[in-house]
Structure formats: C-alpha cells, structure tokens
C-alpha cells in the first residue's frame, strides 16, 4: 500500500512477539512504514486475541480490540513452530528480514530452534531484539511473568495510593509501555551501526531494567540515604494547591496545580475568589502547604459547581495547569487528540470500522500512520508464503496438508 514517503520504508521486520510490549514495538515500526510480518501459532494464537473487549461482546479469535490496539500495520501469518518444517519456514522469514522482534520467556527461542546462533546462520547481519521480563541471566531469568505484576516488582505499585491505606498499584500492564521505546531506540541505533560496519547484532532489553529507569531517583535515594518514600496520594512536595478535585456530576474530576505565585493568583481570579490570594492562610506557598486541607476544600467547593471540562478550560485559559480526569468515553471523544489526528479509523473485516492510535511521535516529513487494520489469524498466509517466500502452489498445498500452518 503506498501511503507516500515513510521513514522506515523498505525495512523488513519478522515479529514473533505476543501480548503487548513486543507487538507494540513492531506496530510502531509498521506505522512508520516498515513491512512487518506477525507470526503466530494457528492453534495457540497470541493471548491478546482472547483478551476483552470484543466487538459487541461477541467472542471470536479475530474480534478482540485489545489485540487490534497493538497490531496495526502488520501482515499476519499462522505458523506451527512445534513442527520442524514450521521452524524452517520461520528461518526463511528471518533470512528475508532486517529485524526480528521477540518477547518470549528467556530460552524459548532457543528451545524452538530459533536462537540467535541459528538465526545468524541464515542471516549473518540480522538484528534481533529480545525483550525478556528479567533478561537472559540471573536467578529470575527463566521465570515467567506479566507486565501487570512487573509494575509491582519494579516499585510502581507500592508508590501509588494513600498514606493511610494499602497500595493500590497501577492497573494494566504498566511496564509494557516503557520497554518498547528502549527497544525501538536500540533497534534504530543498531541499524545505524550495521549501516556503518555491516554488522548485525543481538539486543536484549530487560523489561524489569527498563522499568527501573522510571524510578531511578528513588532507588538512588535509597542507595545514598537508605530512605523509602511514603505514599502521598496526589500531593507534590512544595506545591499547593496540587490535587484532583470533584466536579459537577458523577465521578467527574479535574486535576489542578499551581506552581508559581502568578499561577496561584490566576487560579483565585478564575474561581472568582480573588481575595483568597491575599488571605493570610494562603498568601505564600509555605502558608498554603500548612493550610492545604482547608485550601483543597475551598477549591473543591468551587469545582463541584462546574463540569470538569469547564473547570479545565477556564483554568487553562487563565494560565493554570488543569486537566479533567478522562474516563474511557472522554478518551474517545478527546477533542484535541482528534484535531491532531491521533486516532485513525480503519475497516476491520470482523470488528468493522474502528480506531487505531498513532505512534506518540510525529515526524514532520514522514509522519506515518496505521496503514492496515490488525490482521485476522493467518489472514496473509497466502501473500506472505507466496509473494515474500516464493512458495509454489504445490509446496503450499503440501505444507497445509502437513499442518505446518496450524
């Protein structure tokens, strides 16, 4: 499909990954113009295919919007890697590819006969990015895991919540949205290195170690002081007001923060309470921190009389950082995101017309976009096996009969 000039045009990617972290890497590459082949078992497909939500709640291997979110711009094939002939075909794809992406538990690719040494035999310059949970060494190397729990092991869980309550832990697979950026950066850097030296390489991105980058100052603080931070809800040291305030309606909230005295005065004026700025309880940040609870109550009394959108817009126009707490519906309606073309609707054969997200970086001359809806299971078998790998009708039929594509 020609969508004009794209940054990664001509780059070929064999995507053996599943769940979120690995597929997201390959999706972003595909959105930027790379040709991506997503390889799945036909009998034990990517677990995301059974993950809700399904269109209109009707289950089906091709109906998960969760799978779709991470797999736009890919050709999808089914291949039985438990079958030696399936492994041979996988190697033919690796011979075709510039880049391999995988995020199996450590040791799985080797067990399948697709370890780096094997892949180098068919493509000496291949670049492999492997995204195991914990890396390929150490006592946890072979331990399975999911991103949802890795977020707790990395420290995000315990940090989140209220001082007087148990931790609440951020939901979903939080660390799955950290490691892909490191993988893409490393892949692009490795492609540059190959461009200059002719050498491919094997890259390992430990998802645990990627997550640790996002709490680095706290861990360094422990090394220096042996200190652990308490849970602080939505507070921020040295800043008041800084919180989430209830607005008009059910479960409507707006985040508001004033970092400078100017912002604080603007906030008071915008709320129609200009006097508050000179009130001795709130006149300096020290005073506001001291009387924080009183201050929060006064602000909330005002926000509760207004819709969250209105609070946000009014305060932003006054130069104060404010943002409504978006629910799933607000995310879809996202006025600004839509104006920027962050969402792209594509027609999916079983889900119908639905939404895909752009990568979170926009290149001015080669912006890229989701170019294909997520593939149905094995949807592009014929194209990939025939056009990319050059199989004849005879070979295809024989392999089908031998269950190689199951």
């Amino acid at each position: 499909m020609d969508k004009g000039k794209q940054a990664l045009q001509g780059l070929k990617v064999a995507d053996f990954s599943w769940f979120i972290s690995g597929p997201l890497v390959a999706k972003f590459l595909g959105d930027c113009g790379a040709q991506v082949v997503h390889i799945e078992s036909g009998t034990k497909p990517d677990n995301m295919r059974s993950t809700l939500p399904m269109k209109n709640n009707v289950p089906g291997v091709n109906r998960s919007a969760a799978f779709a979110r991470y797999n736009s711009s890919k050709l999808g094939i089914s291949l039985n890697l438990g079958n030696p002939k399936g492994v041979e075909i996988a190697k033919r794809l690796v011979a075709w590819a510039d880049v391999v992406v995988e995020n199996f538990s450590s040791g799985t690719m080797e067990r399948l006969g697709l370890g780096y040494e094997e892949l180098k035999k068919v493509n000496p310059n291949i670049i492999v990015v492997s995204m195991p949970m914990f890396g390929h060494s150490g006592p946890l190397a072979k331990h399975p895991g999911l991103g949802s729990q890795l977020a707790d092991l990395t420290g995000f869980g315990n940090l989140t919540g209220w001082p007087d309550r148990p931790p609440v832990s951020p939901p979903g697979a939080y660390t799955d949205f950290i490691s892909p950026y490191y993988s893409i950066a490393a892949l692009m850097a490795a492609l540059d290195y190959r461009h200059r030296t002719g050498k491919g390489q094997y890259i390992e991105v430990s998802q645990y170690e990627a997550g640790a980058q996002f709490v680095a100052p706290l861990v360094m603080d422990w090394f220096v002081h042996g200190r652990e931070p308490p849970r602080t809800g939505n507070r921020c040291p040295g800043v008041a007001p800084h919180g989430v305030y209830r607005c008009l309606g059910e479960e409507r909230w707006c985040a508001i923060a004033a970092f400078t005295e100017e912002e604080w005065r603007s906030l008071c004026c915008a709320m129609g309470m200009a006097d508050l700025a000179c009130d001795p309880r709130f006149v300096t940040v020290i005073a506001r921190l001291h009387n924080r609870e009183e201050l929060d109550k006064l602000i909330e009394k005002w926000t509760m009389e207004h819709p969250a959108e209105e609070v946000m817009t009014l305060l932003q126009k006054a130069g104060v950082a404010a943002g409504m707490v978006c629910n799933g519906r607000d995310q879809n309606e996202g006025l600004h995101l839509n104006a920027r073309g962050f969402y792209r609707d594509l027609e999916h054969s079983e889900i119908g017309r639905h939404r895909y997200l752009m990568p979170p970086f926009r290149l001015s001359k080669t912006p890229g976009e989701p170019s294909l809806p997520a593939p149905c299971l094995g949807q592009h078998n014929e194209y990939v096996y025939r056009e990319i790998l050059g199989m004849s009708d005879e070979e295809l039929v024989r392999l089908i009969n031998e269950s190689v594509f199951d």
């Binding site: 930027c32 729990q149 707790d152 092991l153 893409i184 680095a216 600004h336 970086f361």
Partner: protein, 421 residues
C-alpha cells in the same frame, strides 16, 4: 559483563552529537541517546538549569549540584552554559547546530521560532539536523498552548481514572511518570527519523506530545467504551471483570508487606493458579474444593463472583502467613508468579539486578564519593551501552565544548562577563 569488556567495544551512536535543550519534560531522551554512545551536550542557562532544583538531594543538601533527580537523567551528558535569550548566545547555538546531528528541546510551542531558532532556521544552518520537540500537547491543535504537569498529563491520559480506591479521588503513580514516557517516545522517534536521514540525507522535526505518549498507557478503557459502551472504573488493588462483576484481588497482604498475584486460569493457569494450588496442597493449605477446580479450563472472564471470593479466602490466608521473599522464591521454584509489591529498597537490593551487574558506581569527585546509578537496560552483542560518565556540574565542559567550535579561553571569559555563558 566486566567493565573492561565494555571498554573494548564500540557504542552504537558514537559518531553522533546531541544538543539537549530540554527541561524535566525531556531529560531522559538525551540520557538514553547517551547510554547508546551519543555525545550529548546539555545546554543550561548561565547559573544552572532549574531542573537542578528537583529533589531528592544528595545528603539532603538542596543545592543545584546535589540533585539525585538531575544525576539520574543527566548522566552521560556534558554541560555547557548558554543564554538563549541573548543574541550572542543564539549565535553560539547556531554554531553548535552546524556541527550537531540532533537537537532536543521542550520549550513551549513557538518559543524557538520567536528566537529565530525554529526548525526552518536550524535546517538552513544544517539541513540534516533532526529537531525533536517535546511539549504538553504537541505543536498543533486547539490545546497547543495549554500548560501541563505530571498530575494533569496523567489525568488527561485516562490512566488516573482507573487508578486508586473507588471511594477516594483518582490517584497518580506516586513518582512523576508522564514526562518520562514522553522523553522515551522522543528518543524512539528521534532515532526513527535518524534512520530515514541516514538513507536519504533528509532531516526533519519530531513532534512529541506528552498527552499522546500518556494516552498509550491505559490498556483498554478507551476500547471498552468504543466496543461495548462500558466505562471501566477504578478498583484499588483489585481487578473487576466487567463481564461478571467478579472482584479479583491483585494486591494481597503478606507477613511483611504486600505481594502481587493474579487469579488467572486457562492458558495462563500454569503460571498462576495451578502451581499455587499444588504448593498450597504440599503444605496442607489447600481445601478440597480448591483442588477440584480445573484451572486449565477456568475462565477468569466468566467465573462467578461467589467462586472468586471463595477461592480468595485460602489463598489470602496462605499469603498472610508468609513473607515477600518466601513467596517470591517459593514461587520461582514452582514457576508461579507471586511478586513482592516492591519498595525502592527491594529494587536496590534485588538479587536479579545485582547478579546481572546492573548498577553502575560512578565517582563524583566534587562530592568526594561515588554514586550508584541504574545501568542501561539495553545490552547488545557487538556494542556497549551504559552509564559512561556522571551527570555534569553547571558548565563543567564549557572550555572543552566551546573550544571545539574554536572559542579561546579569553573569548569565553568575555562571554561569561557579558552573561552569555
């Protein structure tokens, strides 16, 4: 791998130079390019960057040279001072841009244009340059001039709505995350643009919106609405299946804190309920009803709430009688995923990270001590990445860097007196 082994190998981005004009919103971008070997020059206003005031501080000395936040996200950078608002400073920047491959900035949209240093101006000096701009809402659209902070970005992302106890306001992750997502999206996007440039010679501007980077984080709330018009809600340390209303605990109390465990069945059962129940049975802690459930066919989307609650009772008791360490390593021995809800101490003392040689001890001569940094999460067979140099002091490399563009020490003194550097 040993530090000697590291020194003997090249980096991936060794030949390239980055000018880093970012504040908190983008520091991690340059840091990561530096991990991969790029020569990153942090450009600070004379007197030092305001991000040096972000805590925590080394030995609690709140000075610009002691911020651990600054250390963490400015390692692998050299620092120069430059007053962007003075004409002479702008001239110096132009001279630096002529020899740079990347410029990363996080000013408000339009600020650099106002100074005559926007993309079109920079690309005239250096057509190959890649300018990466990290802003709250991107370079375009009706909200482009709105302000943000971590709390506001996390609120707008949709993630905060799902985080926290249902009887309290939505809550953010207790350490600022939004800018780190944007900074890393910027690192990825910058290098995608680099790939294109190396093939075509064409530079461009990379527009990173913090809002868009954060919109990726909530896994499924937007699509639940789109597909089924269902609003996902927040449930504290539990997972509530919109299909059945069953409340499945994710965070469980144990003897010395909390552990994270999911009650998964079906294909995931082999990592979760199957090994746990057999471990409980070994220790005489599994009631008969629990042993009789076939976890391989247990559908966690369809399990009725009463069953889920019934299962949680003996499981919760089993956890409550054991420590985080016992549960982690007992789980590892059985390939069962029970993870501590870790504190920074647990991360700092992790056996896994220690055995992999993750930490990098870097000398800080001015502090008279070493500081332990997280290493790189990227390891490669042909090249090395990691923390190669400590975070710089204000203007530490003025003589070195300005020398490279031909300024003499005398000229630097003049510029310093005039408040340019």
């Amino acid at each position: 791998m040993s530090s000697e082994g590291r020194q003997n190998r090249e980096t991936m981005l060794g030949p390239y130079r980055v000018l880093d004009l970012t504040d908190e919103k983008g520091l991690i971008c340059g840091k990561t390019l530096g991990d991969l070997g790029a020569d990153v020059i942090k450009i600070e206003p004379p007197g030092g960057h305001e991000c040096r005031d972000l805590g925590p501080f080394y030995r609690d000395l709140p000075s610009g040279e002691e911020s651990l936040y600054w250390f963490a996200y400015n390692a692998n950078k050299r620092s120069i001072t430059l007053n962007l608002e003075s004409e002479e400073g702008q001239d110096l920047l132009r001279r630096l841009v002529a020899r740079a491959d990347f410029v990363v900035e996080s000013f408000a949209p339009g600020y650099l244009e106002k100074l005559g240093l926007g993309y079109s101006a920079l690309s005239q000096i250096n057509p190959r340059v890649i300018l990466t701009s990290i802003t709250p809402f991107g370079q375009t659209g009706p909200w482009r001039d709105f302000k943000t902070c971590d709390l506001v970005s996390m609120a707008l992302s949709g993630y905060m709505f799902l985080t926290g106890d249902p009887d309290r306001p939505p809550v953010r992750i207790g350490f600022p995350q939004a800018y780190l997502h944007a900074g890393m999206a910027a690192a990825a996007g910058t290098l995608v643009a680099h790939y294109h440039r190396q093939l075509t010679g064409e530079g461009q501007q990379v527009d990173v919106s913090i809002q868009e980077a954060c919109a990726w984080i909530p896994t499924d709330s937007a699509i639940y609405w789109e597909m089924n018009q269902v609003l996902e809600e927040r449930h504290g340390g539990a997972r509530v299946r919109p299909t059945t209303g069953a409340r499945m605990k994710r965070i469980w109390e144990c003897q010395d804190g909390y552990v994270s465990f999911d009650m998964y069945g079906a294909r995931l059962a082999r990592n979760f309920m199957t090994p746990l129940v057999s471990w409980m049975a070994e220790e005489g802690a599994a009631p008969d009803f629990l042993k009789e459930i076939d976890w391989n066919t247990f559908d966690y989307f369809a399990a009725p709430p009463e069953l889920v609650e019934k299962v949680a009772v003996p499981v919760g008791r089993f956890f409550a009688e054991r420590t985080r360490k016992e549960l982690l390593w007992g789980g590892v021995a059985r390939r069962c995923c029970i993870y501590p809800v870790a504190t920074p101490r647990d991360v700092a003392t992790s056996r896994q990270l220690a055995e992999r040689g993750f930490w990098a001890d870097i000398e800080h001569p001015a502090l008279g001590a070493g500081v332990r940094y997280p290493g790189s999460c990227i390891r490669a067979s042909e090249t090395v990445s990691g923390v190669f140099r400590k975070a710089p002091r204000v203007g530490e490399h003025n003589i070195e860097v300005y020398g490279e563009i031909g300024l003499t020490r005398k000229e630097l003194l003049v510029l310093r007196r005039r408040g340019v550097i």
